[in-house]
Structures are given as C-alpha cells and as structure tokens.
C-alpha cells in the first residue's frame, strides 16, 4: 500500500455531483458522485459499458450530461462558455485509450499542436522546440521526434500521447485505460512513467482502468462504478478485502 500523504490535502480540484446520462432507454449514469483532491491518484474501476468513459468525457465537455454538477477547479463546466472551457482545458490533460495521436503529423507536430492555442498564456518565455524536447525527454522518446505515429509501437504511442498531455503542464490528468492493449512489461513502464509524472509535476490524476495491478500500484483511493453510481470508494486494501460480492468480483484473479 502506498503512502497516502496527499489525501490529507483537502483541496478539491474536481468534483461531480449527481451526474445523470442516458442514451435513449439506456441509463448509463444514475446519480454518480466523486471528488478528486489535489495531488491525489484516484482510480475508477467498473465493468465494460458501465459508463466510465462517458463520465470522463462529460468531465471535459466532450459529452453533454443530462443533469448534475461538474466542477473543475471550482468552475462548473456545464455553465462555461466555449472560450472559457477551452482556457480551462489547458489545465486538464487527457490521455486517450488509443493514444489518439494525429496520424498525419510527426511526433514533433503532435506535441506542438496544443501549444498553438495555449503557448502565449502558459509558456511566455519558452520556445516551442525546447518544450517539445523536454516533454519527449520526460517520456524517454527524444529520439523519436521526427517519426510519424505509424512508425511507433503501441507503447511508444502511449508515451508520446503522455508527452503531448504533459506539454501544457496540466494540473489534472485524466487517463482513460492507460495500460489497455499493452503487454505486461510495457504496461508496467507506463505505470512507472505515470508515477514519475505525478511526482515531478504534482498533478492530480483520475485513472480509469480494468488493470487491478495498475490500480494497486498507483491508486491513493479507488472508486467502483457499478450500476451507474459510485458504488464504493476507499483505498485498494479496504476494497480488495471487502466481503461485498459486487466488489469482490473486481479483485478475483
């Protein structure tokens, strides 16, 4: 069990209250609640189709919730203008499940892309080249700067995507299944990288994963999303020793 010193910090950077989202008759989220504290790693687990990705997309405004409050660093994103939302998004990094690298651009251009919109606000004194190199060095891929995404392996793509997420130095990082589709060794490397990033930039992280090992290593707290609600919240140890059959099902190997 890892040291949970960050949880003692009471500042909430991200909060969801009573979130509802339906697709026709399919009620995906039925009053979901969660809080993410500053510097914390919160892992969300749930079955496939339980609404984890829908929830995380509502969080960044990619999807409109039916009702509920979504507060990011004290701002209710459901009431923000597009301009204000775009500015706020600079503080939220999003690592997509499939990396989502722009495949018509080189690695360098992929990393430069977010800077086009936010560089003046966030990096007044830095030049783009230095920022790109620093971000790539952080993930150990400085040598791949001029490669195309099609020339990268799955693990390298995930690292480049993480570098692209880091380039704006976000305060919150959302990881959508960061280790899915990777072999165990590469998955472990990505987990170590996530820990390094958290230490270096003191980010708060929301991690959606099916990977119990990943959850065990990286989580300060865990939340189980079952039947569209926050069914259980607690540390890995507390949840993995629970007698509740619905919770136990997640930790069976």
């Amino acid at each position: 069990m890892k040291d949970n010193k960050n949880i003692s910090n009471p500042e909430i950077v991200l909060q969801i209250m009573d979130l509802h989202k339906s697709f026709g008759d399919n009620h995906v989220l039925n009053g979901f609640n969660m809080k993410l504290y500053k510097g914390e790693n919160l892992v969300i687990m749930g079955k496939s189709g339980s609404g984890k990705s829908v929830m995380i997309k509502c969080l960044v405004g990619l999807m409109q919730a039916d009702s509920g409050l979504i507060s990011v660093m004290g701002k209710d994103i459901t009431t923000l203008t597009q301009e204000a939302l775009d500015i706020l998004r600079a503080d939220i990094g999003f690592l997509f499940q499939g990396s989502a690298l722009y495949d018509s651009m080189t690695v360098r251009e992929n990393l430069e892309f977010p800077l086009r919109r936010h560089s003046k606000k966030k990096h007044k004194d830095s030049n783009t080249e230095a920022l790109v190199l620093e971000a790539l060095t952080n993930v150990g891929l400085a040598h791949a700067i001029d490669l195309m995404p099609s020339e990268l392996s799955g693990g390298m793509k995930r690292r480049v995507a993480l570098a692209r997420t880091l380039i704006l130095q976000p305060k919150i990082i959302l990881y959508d299944e960061p280790t899915s589709g990777l072999d165990p060794i590469t998955a472990k490397e990505i987990i170590i990288l996530m820990q390094d990033v958290q230490k270096k930039y003191n980010t708060s992280s929301l991690i959606i994963t099916h990977d119990v090992d990943c959850a065990r290593v990286i989580s300060d707290r865990m939340l189980l999303l079952i039947d569209g609600i926050d069914y259980a919240v607690g540390t890995y140890t507390a949840l993995s020793t629970s007698e509740d059959p619905k919770i136990k099902a997640f930790f069976k190997h």
């Binding site: 997309k57 960044v60 999003f94 997509f96 499939g98 989502a100 722009y102 892309f113 919109r117």
Partner: protein
C-alpha cells in the same frame, strides 16, 4: 413493419439528416470569418487537393476531349458542318462537360478522401483530442478543407477545360489537318464571358458541396471502421447527386439571365 411506416421512417431519417447538414453548413459560414485563421493548414489542403487531383482530372478531361470530338465528327461531317467542330466542342466543354466531369472526378477523389480521413480521425478519437487541447477541430479540419476544395475546384475546371480542348484539337489535327492557331482562334471566337462566368460560379458551388458533404459525413462518422467506409462511400454518393441538382439550378438560373 408495414411498407407505409417504412417510408415514414426513411423520410424521417432523411429530414433529420437534411436538418443536420443545413446546421453543419451554417456553422461553416459562421466559423469561416472567425479568428484564428488557419492559413497554413488551408494552403496545405489546397496543395493536397489541387495538386494531387491534377493528374486524374487531366487524364479524364483529355480523354473526354478526344472522345467528344471522335463521336461528334461523323455527324457533323454528314451535315457538312465539320468546320463548326471547335465551336461546338468548346461551348459544350466550357459550359457543361468540363465543370461536371471535373466535379464528379473530385467528388470521387477528394470527397471520399475527406470522408475517410475525418471519419478515421473521429473513430480514433483524434478529433476529441483536438477539442480537449482547446483547439476548435471544426475550424482546423472542416473550414480549411471546405475552403480548399471550393477554391481549388474552379482552378481544376479551367485546367481541365484547356486539356479537353487540347484533346479535341489533336483529333482535329490528325483527322482534319486543322492547325493549332486555326482551331484555337475558332474556340476563342465562340466562347463568351457569358459561358465562362456561370461555369466558374457553379464550379465554386460544386466545390462547396463536395467539401461540405465530405466533411459532414466524416465529422459525424460512427461505428468504427465500418463507419469510416460508409462515410467515404456516402460522401461520394450524396455529393455526386448534389452536383447534378446544383448543375440543374445553375443552368436554370443562367437560362433566365440569357432570356433577359
């Protein structure tokens, strides 16, 4: 489901699609005048669409010019009117065949390309990634592509017309010993601004239709790789159909002006 309700259902889907397409088009016109302007991406798209379609348009139009001349020649010879060949070919190419053939080739080449590219970006979450990074993907991806195809199509039509006429000249030269100067003197004597201007204006609308439909189908693509294929396919089908509708309206409007 009864036949009646099937028709109702299809009509309902068609009207919703039409509404969405209209909304998409109005969004394009709103965004096109807003900052920031993506000039670099616009030039890149112009180069991609213009330069890379040139060979296909050139070959197609060259063959059309050859075939048109070869097919029409015997009939005109029968009436002893073979000297009218340059006039007939030039007017039919400039007014109608050049723009519509070039537009159809571009609907296949560019429309399907846009549909497949944006569709694949949608299903692999690249468009979502752009949005999350605070960039307006509609502005970056859609506005630049629609503008590029709208600007490039009239240029391709002009080049295609010239190549078609050259194809026709080759047949005339080989079969009728007509010189380059004589052929093109007759061509330019026959063509008026009243032929060129409406054809150029409708080419802009052809480009706009190809761009809007291709982007719309790709941008709202769903259902994974199957959806990407459908987006590319329906981009070609719908834009080709739209081209003929626009062509009919353009000819109809031009005809009214000729009558005035």
């Amino acid at each position: 489901m009864s036949g009646n309700s099937k028709i109702k259902n299809r009509l309902h889907v068609f009207l919703i699609e039409l509404g969405d397409l209209s909304f998409f088009t109005s969004r394009f016109f709103k965004e096109v005048f807003k900052h920031p302007f993506e000039f670099k991406e616009l030039f890149r798209q112009c180069y991609n669409m213009g330069n890379r379609s040139l060979l296909l348009v050139g070959i197609t139009c060259f063959i059309i010019g050859l075939v048109l001349d070869l097919q029409t020649r015997p009939t005109l010879m029968e009436f002893g009117a073979v000297s009218w060949m340059p006039s007939m070919v030039s007017i039919s190419i400039v007014r109608e065949i050049g723009p519509i053939i070039t537009a159809l080739v571009c609907a296949g080449r560019i429309g399907s390309g846009i549909g497949a590219e944006l569709g694949s970006m949608r299903v692999t979450e690249q468009i979502d990634a752009m949005e999350v990074s605070g960039t307006n993907p509609f502005k970056y991806l859609v506005v630049t592509r629609v503008l590029a195809v709208t600007l490039m199509l009239p240029l391709l039509v002009i080049i295609g017309d010239a190549i078609s006429l050259f194809g026709s000249f080759l047949v005339e030269n080989l079969k009728g010993n007509v010189s380059f100067t004589l052929y093109f003197n007759q061509v330019f004597d026959s063509i008026e601004f009243g032929d060129i201007i409406p054809a150029t204006i409708k080419s802009f609308f052809f480009g706009l239709a190809i761009g809007i439909v291709g982007c719309y189908k790709g941008y709202y693509c769903t259902k994974g790789t199957e959806g990407v294929g459908k987006a590319a396919n329906s981009a070609v089908v719908v834009s080709s159909l739209l081209l003929f509708i626009i062509d009919f309206i353009a000819v109809f409007v031009t005809d009214i002006f000729y009558d005035l």
